[in-house]
């Protein structure tokens, strides 16, 4: 019997080793779903069907010969088209990179290859990762599998859509201001941004080098852990056990982070907190005193970095960018050096404040997105009685942890009355990935 589109890497691995399914069969199922669903969702820029079949057959041969590479062996994975895969184009969702072919795998991709993953294809993204809705891409917008009139989030929107639509068992994204967690939240998946500099960004097209992260989107916290370990180059099975729920100390930074929330997002968040309390977790309030400065700090850094990277092509081929991304890159060229430096200095008080908030708690918990996935083609959404810019809303709750580098994972926590996913963001201490994910497992068990 063929696997359901919600099969986890864990479950696939059990069935693969029980000879109930082959890597080739799983890959064919993903390819079938791509053929059926991609015209509507536009999740993929490049479907690597022939390569995927070869990799899958090789994975099956190796397993039959007694070579087991670990939990990612034979697992079909999609890769955001910002990371190099040897011999294939890395478009970054842009015509600016027409003709590009990667000479070698990105380091993270090479680790996945070594772990036996099957590369099903390159996913669509917001052009050059410079956006949160996946609308502005040279290849057209990706769409949300829960409601194709809505954004899948961005910039790793194609990745999230491919995962949730059953076209891959996991996917790799990047996150500069929230671009793994935002689409994970919008599409109802798990999205993990590791500690800054944990996973190599070599071979990844940059947006803002001091804020860029590589990480997985997956169907469960356990799956995210498996892919994360493989991204580091550790393909071996390392089981992860949930921390005991009783006594786990959870801090909620309410001021700023819970000020502007859609009513149903707020309701799902509070219900999630109630579930955590019922399980014996201690839920207390905390604060980030400089939270109101986050958006201005982030904006000046990402604009300055992006403008510097794109300076040459903005002069030589501006018409190849999508118009909205081009304009925002042009905006970056007007950031003064003194303000860029101010913004960089502003990161340190934020870092100290997140550390201080974590000092009294095991993890911080807050919503991932303040709104459900927005409709495609809108610049603003109504939150309560107020019209708010979409971009500001999408980045509001995630960008802090790019500025500070703390690891953060988004997990699903219910739906709105119209079926749109809501998401909980869980944040841990620097380089304390295993405790964070063990806490996330405990939370997932209560609200998943």
């Amino acid at each position: 019997m063929m696997a359901a589109p919600t099969i986890t890497i864990e479950e696939f691995g059990r069935r693969l080793r029980a000879r109930d399914i082959t890597a080739e069969q799983m890959t064919e199922e993903c390819l079938r779903r791509i053929e059926l669903g991609n015209p509507a969702l536009n999740a993929f820029i490049l479907v690597m069907a022939d390569q995927a079949r070869r990799q899958a057959r090789e994975a099956d041969r190796e397993l039959s010969a007694g070579r087991d590479r670990g939990p990612l062996h034979g697992v079909p994975i999609s890769i955001k088209d910002l990371l190099d895969i040897s011999g294939t184009p890395t478009t970054a969702g842009s015509r600016v990179r027409e003709g590009h072919v990667a000479e070698r795998d990105a380091t993270a991709v090479a680790h996945l290859r070594q772990a036996g993953a099957v590369f099903i294809g390159k996913t669509n993204l917001h052009e050059f990762a410079f956006g949160t809705t996946n609308e502005d891409s040279a290849f057209g917008p990706s769409r949300n599998p829960h409601d194709p009139t809505r954004s899948p989030g961005g910039s790793s929107g194609g990745s999230a859509a491919s995962l949730v639509a059953g076209m891959a068992l996991a996917t790799i994204g990047t996150d500069t201001g929230g671009s793994i967690r935002i689409p994970a939240a919008a599409c109802g998946a798990v999205g993990f941004k590791p500690t800054y500099d944990d996973v190599s960004t070599a071979g990844v097209v940059p947006l803002s080098r001091g804020l860029d992260h590589v990480g997985p989107l997956a169907r469960s916290v356990t799956d995210a852990w498996i892919v994360y370990r493989a991204l580091l180059g550790d393909a071996a099975l390392r089981p992860l056990a949930a921390l005991p729920a009783r006594g786990l100390r959870v801090g909620v930074p309410r001021a700023y982070f819970c000020d502007v929330l859609d009513d149903e997002v707020r309701a799902r968040f509070e219900e999630a907190l109630d579930a955590l309390r019922a399980a014996g977790m201690t839920v207390g309030d905390t604060s980030i005193p400089h939270a109101k400065d986050i958006a201005a700090i982030y904006l000046h850094i990402v604009l300055g970095d992006a403008a510097a990277y794109h300076a040459t092509t903005l002069e030589s081929m501006p018409e190849r960018y999508t118009a909205p991304v081009r304009l925002r890159l042009e905006m970056g060229r007007y950031v003064l050096a003194e303000d860029y430096v101010r913004a960089q200095h502003g990161r340190e008080p934020l870092r100290r404040e997140v550390d201080a908030a974590l000092a009294g708690h095991d993890v911080l918990v807050l919503p991932t997105l303040p709104i459900p996935a927005p409709p495609l083609g809108v610049d603003s959404v109504k939150v309560g009685a107020t019209e708010e810019p979409v971009r500001n809303m999408m980045l509001r709750l995630t960008q802090l942890f790019n500025l500070t580098g703390h690891p953060a994972i988004a997990i699903p926590c219910g739906r709105t009355s119209t079926g749109l996913p809501c998401s909980l963001q869980i944040v841990g201490a620097h380089r304390q990935t295993e405790p964070l994910l063990r806490a996330a497992l405990a939370c997932e068990a209560q609200i998943g």
Binding site: H290, D293, V335, L336, A343, G346
Partner: protein
């Protein structure tokens, strides 16, 4: 450079380059820059160092 001077120069430059659609975007950036400059973590050479050690 004050933000007002910066904004005037930036708007004029955008006009000169044939990018009038940059105007609302630059005004948004100006608001963000005002907020950034008003933050209490900024250094101030006149009274020593206002930033935390």
């Amino acid at each position: 450079m004050t933000i007002d001077d910066w904004l005037r120069a930036a708007l004029a430059d955008a006009e000169r380059r044939g990018l009038p659609e940059l105007k609302p975007i630059l005004e948004t950036l100006a608001r963000a820059t005002r907020a950034l400059r008003a933050a209490d973590f900024n250094a101030d050479a006149s009274d020593g160092h206002r930033m935390q050690p």
